[in-house]
Symmetry: C2
Subunit: 325 residues, 2 copies
């Protein structure tokens, strides 16, 4: 029997799920809308039914050893989703317990950025690294820290909220209730806000003047910048400068070997990497300079969230040999 795991990534918009083996082959995968379900149980029932069907279609040569779940506000210790601002279900959702009951295998739950960090270590560009950070640049900014080869969950299971460090205490309003948090500047939403700020403050012509805030996407900003649009180019410079400055603070906390950028904004390549690295280096304490790599994630594809969630199980088996049921 070949051992396989289920990986489930519960996002605010979509839920992705799949079946993966130890070397990172995704044998089956699917995606459904998270928002179309009124009850969380119904979402989980549909995902479970599809995974059962996918597994049964693979034949009898496969054995399910565990399920990994990545979710916004997933808590490793309680195996629950806790007060997720980006999901419609409030309070504590014991997703780990629900899946364990349904499938009779161990379940590990964590937040999506920690799952991405484990995925990077097991399947991606951080193989063999013991100290690194993954930054997910999506709707918000998430982060997963690995120190001494282990994910940092923290005392309360909520470590790695780099998106809510401050850039400007009287700056932009943040979903978390504070002002001026990093993710209000550095994220898909953040760069849109920056474009609108630049359009408001300056007079330069820009192809983005014809686009509404709702319709504006990271991809449009990237393409405009590549065509030389002044506002789009400036927006990337500003975003990279702020990310670089804040990363210089983060680096002196845990002294990582590398920082991996993952998600929409990171696909802009040099537009985001160049100013980020430049301003990180310029703001670093001298003994840290030219030591820390800022790199694109090795899992820049559709399967990344499934592999990230799935890797929780493989990582645990490697570290401890056996997962508590």
């Amino acid at each position: 029997m070949k051992e396989i795991t289920f990986g489930i990534d519960i996002g605010g918009t979509n839920t992705k799920f799949g079946i993966a083996d130890r070397v990172g082959h995704v044998l089956y995968s699917g995606k459904i809308s998270t928002t179309k379900f009124v009850k969380f149980e119904d979402l989980l029932d549909e995902v479970s039914a599809l995974l059962r069907e996918g597994l049964s279609n693979l034949g009898t040569a496969y054995s399910l050893v565990g399920i990994g779940v990545g979710s916004a506000n997933g808590n490793y210790y309680s195996a629950s989703i806790e007060n997720a601002p980006n999901l419609k279900w409030k309070g504590t959702i014991p997703v780990g317990k629900m899946l364990a009951k349904s499938f009779g295998v161990p379940v590990l739950v964590t937040n999506d950025a920690n799952a991405a960090a484990v995925g990077e270590m097991i399947f991606g560009a951080a193989k063999g690294m013991k100290d690194f950070i993954v930054i997910t640049l999506g709707t918000g900014l998430g982060s997963g820290f690995v120190c001494n080869g282990q994910v940092v969950n923290g005392k309360h299971g909520i470590a790695g909220e780099l998106g809510h460090t401050f850039v400007n205490p009287v700056g932009r309003n943040c979903n978390c209730g504070k002002r001026g948090c990093l993710e209000t500047y550095v994220s898909a939403t953040g760069i849109k806000r920056t474009v609108y700020k630049l359009l408001a403050d300056h007079l330069e012509p820009s192809e983005l003047r014809g686009v509404s805030f709702e319709n504006l996407s990271t991809k449009m900003i990237t393409e405009a910048a590549l065509r030389g649009d002044v506002v789009a180019t400036e927006a990337y410079k500003y975003t990279g400068r702020i990310l670089g400055m804040k990363l210089s603070d983060t680096v002196v906390h845990t002294d990582p070997e590398a920082i991996f950028l993952l998600g929409g904004l990171s696909l802009a390549g040099e537009l985001i990497f160049k100013p980020t690295i430049e301003h990180m280096e310029a703001n670093l304490m001298p003994i840290f300079r030219n030591k820390v790599k800022v790199l694109p994630s090795g899992l820049q594809n559709q399967s990344a969230p499934i592999l990230g969630a799935s890797s929780l199980i493989w990582n645990y088996l490697e570290e401890k040999g056996k997962i508590p049921a």
Copy 2:
């Protein structure tokens, strides 16, 4: 035979050393000036001779199992002191190798704040904690991070330089070559600079107007504040506000159970703890509020540096069973 360790703390001004047992009893201790030696070898020879004499005076019932060294810019991986700005000896000093050759026992070296963190875990107020931070408030600001029960050394052995995160990129000049680093505001030197800034900007009478910068000490500022001196009181509020704001950023990185403050400035009690906690909480992302304790170190005495250095050995023996020679 009762097992004992040597603990050596090499500071910019003084070098402290002693003999400690597994439960934190200091059986012998001494202190000499670091600065009076021209050659580092001569400092180490004198410390070694005094430790040998101390051990021999204890009688024959004791067995030396290892030596722990805490030093500014001590690097755990290379067991060396590397480019310490506060020591007169430049370049790399292989202090671990030198002591191992001299005593024939394993030697572990780390920076003074990491040694303090291990000391706090083994002998102090962090017993049983797996995720915490120690902040040393001396001439500068040092920090030691423990995550998942292990000290975070980082990829290059230089993690925990919280003193060089930025408060104001165009702020006060720092020894590291940058401007506006946290330790230029929050440290014994930082609060002196703040007092002088306040004396320059304001007209209020203050007993500190009669003291030169060189003569001004943390103790004088504390005593003046306790007597109601407006400038000294304001200096503590300002220092705590900046420390609290920066700690709110640090907390969301590693989600610690507690942050321990150690060293001169921390002895001011409520004067520093009250504004620090108030501004940390006010700036924290809501899910972190009222979760993280800010506490005085459990090792607030003369033996702290010796116990910190000594604990490196006990901690290693506990984790791994045996120290590589």
